[in-house]
């Protein structure tokens, strides 16, 4: 099974998380909202699959390169 690692693209704060580990996601689903540069930026699932790891929580401040989630597909 292939894995897709979703990383934080930009410094900011996670303001909502829509899934939990083990959830199934579809391509284009909004995994979480990242507030950065006074904008709410959705982070999308790039593939259909299952979240095997979720490394973020609401209110967490994140930096580029940190892992948001890993999706098995």
């Amino acid at each position: 099974m292939a894995q897709e690692v979703i990383e934080v693209p930009i410094t900011g704060k996670i303001i909502s998380v829509n899934f939990k580990s083990g959830d199934a996601v579809k391509e284009g689903d909004i995994l979480c909202l990242l507030e950065s540069m006074k904008m709410e930026n959705p982070i999308l699932a790039p593939v259909d699959g299952t979240i095997t790891q979720l490394e973020i929580a609401t209110e967490q401040v994140v930096k580029p390169g940190e892992i948001i989630a890993i999706i098995d597909y």
Partner: protein
Amino acid sequence: MFGLFETGFQAFWWGNALMLLIGGALIYLGITKKMEPLLLVPIGFGILLINLPLGGLMDYELQITNTTGVSTKVISLEVDEGDRIGDNDVILTLDSGEILAPVYGRVKEVRVSSGEEVKPGEVVAVMITTAQTPLPTKPVGLLSRIFAFGIMWQVIPPLIFLCLGALTDFGPMIANPRTLLLGAAAQFGVYFAFFMALLCGFNMAEACSIGIIGGAEGPTTIYVTSLLAPQIIGSTAVACYTYMALVPIIQPPIINLLTTKKERAIYMKPQLREVSSTEKIVFPIVASVIVILFVPMSAPLIGMMMVGNLFTTCGVTDRLSKTAQTAFIDILTIFLTLCIGATLTAANFLQPRTLLVFLLGVVAFGTATAAGVLMAKLMNLFLKEKINPMIGAAGVSAVPMSARVVQVMGQKANPRNFLLMHAMGPNVAGAIGAAIAGGIFLGMVG
């Protein structure tokens, strides 16, 4: 007794009613649709206030003198104090000709009587007008004073640039200087609209002011128009701010037209090079020196923008940076937007030329977007690591709306993409490009 028994109803006409609807619509869009509320709410209310007649908020006093060049006798007075008059209405008939009203307004005072001799240059009457005119007027209303000394004296727009500088992170542009090209390419829209305006019969100064709408920077547009064509300042400013609010509607169809789905899906690595604090400090200093040496007339805008940016990047003037980013820009925005709304009297706004200004404004935004995208595609012919051509569209400035549009479209085409920071580069480069284009126009015509 002037004004004692007057109510606004007597001077109210359908044009005022239409402007009240336009003002109301802007307030509605701001409050309900959250479209640029910080701009549209005060502009809308300014329109509302100025179209309630006789309020005097935007009044100018204009002295009417004997312009015949000779001493002459007054034959008859054609107006009374308090009368409303239109452009070229006869105010009084002299032995040697007629004295006409140079603009619309109302008569405040008539200083001569029939049979009296008047010398050349002598003041024969005083009128009140709300027209934006290059004639030597004296502001006598609350908002006309703020407008005259804040905007016409070119104080407020450059100070807003200082605040924008404090708010802007040039990091993405420094990390990827190629994006400067995209910001520059988008200025094509400015020059295209400029030539179109000339073709439509506007004079050189007006065409420059209309072209600069394509720079998608409110303060730049207001600054250039106040210097070159104050008679159309309300239209150019409102066109600029309206189209900035409408960027999410104007840009996507143009981007879709000029790019294939495959191009829109081009993936760009999110991680840009880390920009050191030294680079961020040196940038505003070096950029000021270079840009102002090349385009001296851009100094008020670029100089203020860069000093504001230095307040933020240097790390020892946090208080100044914080004030510029919050309270100061808010105060300036209140003055600027109320005054801009207040220039939009029915008589100023409801002209066929206004419609043309709006039409040319959208042409400017559209061609700027197209030029940015096409430049990005051109760059891709030479680049090993391709860029997503959509980031060229962010070169139109309109910070950060157009970068946001690119981000949303990029994610839609490829959920892996996160183009925001890549688009911020051309976006802030576009802001600098617009100020430079404004400086070039001022050097050309001013």
